[in-house]
Every structure is written in C-alpha cells, then in structure tokens.
Amino acid sequence: MSVSVQQAAFDLGQELAGFGQGQDDNPRRNIGAVVSFTGFVRDDSGALDHMLIEHYPGMTERAIGQIVDEAVQRWSLGDVRVIHRYGVLKPGDQIMMVATAARHRVAAFEAAEFLMDYLKSRAPFWKKEVNADGSEWVAAKDEDEDALRRW
C-alpha cells in the first residue's frame, strides 16, 4: 500500500509495472485483476490557463490513509497505490491516480470506485481554475456527495 501527495508529475506506466505481483524474488500469484484510474485536467472551453490545487498537508495523507485502509479490508486488496498532485497543473496534465489489485475483477473495480468517490469529497483538496479573465474555485457537486451513499 502506498500513498503519495506530491507536486511532481508521475509516470503511470512506471507505477503500474509489476503492481500487485510482488517482488521478482517473491512473486505473488493470487492477483487476477488490476484496475487503475487516472484523472486529467480538462479544458472543455479552451479558456483554461491552468488549475491550482491546494491541499491541507498532514490531513491529506491521514484522510487518504484511512480511506485506503478501509478499501483494503473491505475488498481484501493485494495492493493499493494512490498519487494525488497539488500546485499548478496545465490542461491535459495528470492530476491523480488510484490503482487496486485483487483476486477478481469485481473487487478491483469496486475498490477503485470507492477510493475515487471518497477522494473526491473527503480528501482535503480544493481546485481553482485560472484563465485570462480571472479565477474561480471549483464548486463541490451534489452528485459527488450522493456518490458516497452507495458504499
């Protein structure tokens, strides 16, 4: 299990290489399914200059750690990886990723969706969109809060 809160970009391929499969000298053979989610900065209007992501150092790691622990227990995960960036991000940049490893596909999918739903509304990040005319904090969506109810 590993959680990173960082400014730096990450390499999805590098993060997923061998993920869930143990070490070369101690391979695990009980993982049948790996699911990954990667979030990107969208710019539907073409007006976005950049996105600014603020976070609450300390609480961020703590909140994500709790969410990850719950997912590991609930879906008997073999491995979890969470990376969430903060700072200045440009359109098309990767914002964050989660990956889950489990015996079967349903567990890997559900756990990844659970992690995403909780990261959206329970990890202390705030997004601000900055364009030529000014800037605006992204408002939380009711549907994101509602998404937590299914878990």
């Binding site: 979030g39 603020e54 609450y56 300390g58 609480m59 703590r62 909140a63 969430h84 914002i95 964050m96 995403m116 990261l119 959206k120 509304s121 329970r122 990890a123 202390p124 990040f125 705030w126 997004k127 601000k128 904090w137 992204v138 408002a139 939380a140 809060e145």
Partner: protein, 82 residues
C-alpha cells in the same frame, strides 16, 4: 491558544492561511461566533456555515463539536479532490 487554519476561498477572504487564537470558546460554533464578531473579513468568510466544513486535529468534524483538547482547527469549503 489554538491554531486555526483556513483553506481555499475561506483563506482568501480571511487573508491568512493560519493564525493562533486565544479563545475560551467551548465548541466550534462558539469559536465561529467569536471570529465573526471580530472583523468584516471573518463575517464574510463565515456568513454561510452550510458552505463550510471543519476539521479538528485533522479529522473532519461538526460545528457543534467541543473544542476541549483540540490544538488545530481548520475551516474550508467542501473538498474537490480527485
């Protein structure tokens, strides 16, 4: 003395990310009332509590929670991670 932190537009309205406050408030709501009475910038930040969230010592909490034993209070809008 208690550390009070502000994030996102709450931080922008109040003008500082963090401050130490001498308070005898017993709940978060009491602390908010004290701050609102101080200056218009606090009044502006705390005008609508339903638009705010609070964390006590880095755990999400409620406005009616007691402050006893708490060393860090943070106010911020609903999170928008992911």
């Amino acid at each position: 003395m208690i550390d009070v932190m502000y994030f996102a537009w709450v931080r922008e309205r109040i003008g500082v990310p963090k401050e130490q406050i001498e308070t005898s408030a017993t709940t978060v709501a009491d602390l908010v009332e004290e701050l609102r009475a101080r200056e218009p910038r606090y009044e502006a930040a705390f005008a609508d509590l339903s638009a705010l969230r609070v964390a006590l010592d880095q755990d999400l909490s409620e406005f009616n929670a007691p402050l006893a034993g708490v060393s860090e209070v943070a106010f911020f809008p609903p999170m928008t991670g992911g």
